[in-house]
Amino acid sequence: MEEVCAKFVSQKISKTRWRPLPAAALQPPELFATGSWDNEDNRISIWSVGDLGNVGLNGEYQGEPQLLCDIRHDGDVMDMQFLDQERIVVASSTGTVTVFRHHQNNQTLSANHQWEKAHYHVDQNTSCGGAACTGVICNNPEIVTVGEDGRINLFRADQKNAVRTIDNADSSTLHAVTFLRTTEILTVNSIGQLKIWDLRQQKNEPSHIFSLTGDRVPLHCVDRHPSQQHIVATGGQDGMLSVWDIRHGTMPVSLLNAHEAEMWEVHFHPSNPDHLFTCSEDGSLWHWDTSTDVSEKPSFLHQGGRSATCFSHNIINQSVVSAWLSNDPTKDRMEITNLIPNQTLSVNSLDILGPCLVYGTDAEAIYVNRQLFA
């Protein structure tokens, strides 16, 4: 697969994120950030995949990520989001949340703002006792973080103190958070629950709780459909992909057997939401495509070398039209492609923007695919 560029970076990668494009941009993204974990010295790095200068017009260098700058980060990078074109919010295993600024004129990174021990156990003021901040989501200027302490924090980019804190929001660990609407957030926790929080309301209780039935399998990641906000996808410890319709019921609409181990991230394609991407501890990265009609036969040899599999999914709800919720017989199949042929160690993170995919692994490598739909 020539279109995928790999680079070994000598640190285990926990997060990869594309820098968002300016509103009017037409060209594909060129910069992405990575964060590492489990190192004595963890780093935030900015990489470029653009054609720097004239390196190899038809040469080998084109596409291989080039390190632009990096900076030390205290603790494992647990999550990372771009706040805007220049600022990155990073969640640390020490409980600290830091905003880094990427200075593009001289290619440096600096810590711009920091909330120390935004997440903590027992007492915020003792020297120890920070609790890992597991998830962060931004909607400039608002930043929401969740952590192992079951706490939800709402920050505003340049304010010193938290705008709002919900202590003991969850009795178990919160694993991920995303915005549902501008005032509502979704969290997933380690006992298989999906909760909606309305930040306008003063009471410290979720407005809705959805849960997996049965075994309370922990949920690790959550993403919302970019255009149809009632459709939410989550990934669990057993590698299962659940699709939820948050307008109805308390259980997932469909459960799709997917990976063999923890699903670490799930992302709808931001502009092409018929496509979904998931990555897992088992070292695989799947591309879920509901745009194909079954009238064209599911091709097992599609895009040579990739293994394509078709799954039928069991649908409970019938009343919605989206491809993710519908059980219309002609749409009842989706094409699933594993994008990594020889999987070994965990794929911890992925990000998609336009035709570009970036992912990072515990095998200390980052991969960039710039022609996803070629």
């Binding site: 070994f8 000598s10 494992d76 597991t134 009795s171 006992i191 849960s211 075994d215 309370r216 070994t344």
Partner: protein, 671 residues
């Protein structure tokens, strides 16, 4: 037979005399007292002062802990406040070189690929596959070298030596090239690795007029010595055009070089054919030399002598070859092009002797290469173990050779076999690293005999600073059915959560570990909290226990008790009453909690509507009597007034309820 025995011995020695290992570990297992192959290297612990104080140490899995004792050197016990420092001495130091992490990670992928490629392929295609694997390993080494060149790292020369040895092993052992192709491979090998002259070649070729350059003939010689005939002829043609007088002479030499027979890679010619052609060509060269065709030009004469395989003529170009193995290959090229693998050892030995000429003694690299030429695989591995400061090289090379089925007959007198021994050492080194431990897991997986035990011991020692890391470790254990370790990890995490007052998390972890005792402990904490505060914390968890409620009796009780409160809150009184009673009569509730339960029954007894039936009321009464009767006299005295009053109130409420219910049931039945 004898050779086999020797090889086995060598293997054992190789394994026992690894680089940084101080001698004397498990050495006497077979009873045979062997001498050490190499003096164990002296390791200076910076900061420790063995002259002033005696040191003590303890073995770790991949490290040694050293510390200064209070005892002085001469036993005078001079004491004095000790520095009280502990030193960690690492065995496999190369593991910590940042740029080598690329090597470890990339080769890990290749290693896994090799283990997965089961031997369904036979014969040629299997061999091609193994050669490809070997090439992949080498390309990783080379990629790493390039990175290091950029970083100007001093480790480059070691990597380059590793690649040189690996490449030779690939030719001789993995590919096992036969006579003919063998020479071509060795030529490639020399060309790839003798790079000292490359700069000179580049300088001459890029000069304006190469033939006038003072090093011109040196470059021609380099090409001839490396068998790069086309390039040599190209250069010579330039010189020829500049010297019209001696054009004939050039033509003859050019012709000789063109006609030189080379072994073919395919099966187009047999060895005998090749040898015949060679003989013919050789005689032709001989003729030209003897009739003095090149007498007027010493350069060309010496080239002709080289073509004839004249050892002295070749040796004169010593500094152009730089190494004895280059000399060996050149010598083979011009005097024994169809050398058989087994004949290599004689030529290798004599080439080394001739080249070094007793001036310098062979260095470790020379010894290793010599062992390879002698097809002493175990010797190669042993020497490499001694010379290199890492286990990466020997572990991967040995594994590859083992997959070529070249090492199978030899077992060590300790442990399993050599492959496994080396893999275990390498993986243990990985596990001592704060970040590379994940790679080690797969290596242990492919050690059939001791891998599992090693993994079990190492995995428990991974520090778990976040839940996510714990989950990753847990996944490793669960995939391998390591129940003991799963339990211990969950327990550690549950304890941590408990210490942080995260009861919900603690309970989740103990449920995951199916640790009933711990679940009971946490349930008790929940109940205690409830008794103190009058309300439940972590309702989202307790309300959603589901089937995991059955893990421990106490947890079941906790879940059911909470259910009682929910029913009561929803004003479903009769259901709540039934559940409450059941908790006591079915002995789900711990005795210590009965009083609380009975107190909870009070408001139900006082409801306007009668909730408890007569039968249920009798049951409640019996529970209360059991509770009070169960207490010894001694305890009774200690019971404070509040308790006595509670009992009295309960008795009263029960009696009133009983009266009401008798009336109610009586009238209902009567009507």
């Amino acid at each position: 037979r004898r050779a086999g025995a020797r090889a086995a011995q060598a293997a054992a020695r190789a394994a026992a005399a690894g680089p940084p290992r101080a001698g004397g570990r498990e050495r006497s297992a077979a009873g045979a007292m062997e001498e050490l192959d190499a003096e164990p290297p002296l390791m200076v612990v910076p900061g420790a002062d063995p002259v002033a104080r005696q040191l003590c140490f303890a073995w770790g899995p991949a490290e040694v802990l050293v510390c200064e004792t209070l005892f002085g050197r001469r036993g005078t016990g001079e004491g004095g406040p000790s520095a009280s420092r502990v030193f960690v001495v690492r065995k496999d130091q190369d593991i910590y070189i940042q740029t080598l992490r690329k090597l470890f990670n990339e080769s890990h992928g290749i290693f896994i690929g090799l283990q997965r490629s089961e031997e369904e392929l036979v014969g040629k295609s299997r061999k091609a596959q193994l050669v490809q694997v070997s090439k992949n390993y080498r390309s990783v080494i080379r990629a790493c070298m390039e990175d290091m060149h950029q970083a100007a790292c001093k480790f480059v020369s070691i990597l380059s030596a590793m690649e040189l040895i690996w490449n030779l092993c690939e030719i001789l052992f993995v590919e096992a090239a036969a006579a003919g192709p063998l020479l071509l491979r060795l030529l490639d090998w020399v060309r790839l690795h003798v790079c000292d002259v490359d700069n000179m070649v580049r300088e001459v070729l890029s000069s304006e007029n190469p033939s006038k350059h003072k090093l011109f003939w040196n470059v021609v010689d380099v090409f001839v010595l490396q068998g790069r005939m086309d390039e040599a002829r190209h250069l010579l043609s330039k010189e020829a055009s500049a010297n019209p007088t001696s054009v004939n002479m050039y033509k003859i030499l050019d012709d000789l070089m063109k006609k030189m027979p080379v072994p073919s890679l395919g099966n187009t010619q047999t060895l005998t054919e090749m040898e015949l052609k060679w003989q013919h060509w050789h005689e032709e060269c001989q003729r030209y030399l003897q009739d003095g065709t090149f007498a007027s030009n010493s350069h060309m004469e010496s080239i002709c002598k080289i073509l004839l395989g004249d050892e002295d003529a070749i040796l004169e170009k010593k500094e152009l070859m730089t190494t004895w193995y280059h000399f060996l290959v050149t010598r083979l090229l011009y005097s024994h092009p169809t050398v058989k693998p087994m004949e290599l050892r004689f030529y290798a030995q004599s080439s080394m002797d001739l080249f070094l000429g007793g001036e310098s003694s062979p260095e470790p690299l020379d010894t290793i290469l010599m062992a390879a030429f002698e097809f002493e695989m175990h010797q190669v591995i042993k020497e490499c173990s001694i010379a290199l400061s890492n286990w990466w090289f020997v572990a991967h090379l040995t594994d590859l050779l083992d997959h070529c089925k070249l090492l199978q007959s030899h077992n060590l007198y300790f442990g399993s076999n050599m492959r496994e021994f080396l893999l275990l050492e390498y993986a243990s080194g990985l596990f001592s690293h704060h970040s590379l431990w994940q790679l080690g897991v797969d290596y242990f997986d492919h050690c059939p005999e001791y891998g599992r035990v090693y993994l079990e011991l190492h995995i428990e020692r991974i520090p778990l600073n976040t839940e996510q890391k714990a989950l990753k470790v847990l996944r490793i254990c669960e995939q391998r059915q390591m129940h003991e370790q799963v339990r211990s990890i969950c327990k550690i995490m549950a304890m941590k959560a408990l210490r942080n007052n995260r009861l919900g998390s603690a309970l989740s972890w103990s449920i995951r570990a199916k640790d009933a005792a711990f679940a009971t402990l946490i349930s008790d904490r929940f109940l205690k909290d409830y008794c103190e505060r009058g309300c439940f914390s972590d309702l989202d968890l307790i309300d959603n226990l589901g089937p995991s409620m059955l893990l421990s009796d106490r947890l079941t009780f906790l879940g059911k008790y909470r259910e009682f409160h929910r029913l009561y809150g929803e004003k479903r009184f009769s259901e709540a009453a039934k559940l409450l009673l059941m908790l006591m009569t079915a002995h789900i509730a711990p005795c210590s909690f009965w009083m609380t339960l009975l107190t909870d029954a009070l408001p139900l007894l006082e409801q306007k509507e009668v909730v408890f039936s007569a039968e249920q009321t009798y049951e409640l009464m019996r529970c209360l009597e059991d509770l009070t009767a169960g207490k010894s006299d001694k305890q009774k005295f200690q019971v404070d007034d509040v308790e006595t009053m509670k009992v009295e109130m309960l008795r009263l409420a029960l009696a009133r309820n009983l009266a009401r219910v008798i009336v109610k049931e009586g009238t209902l039945e009567g009507s």
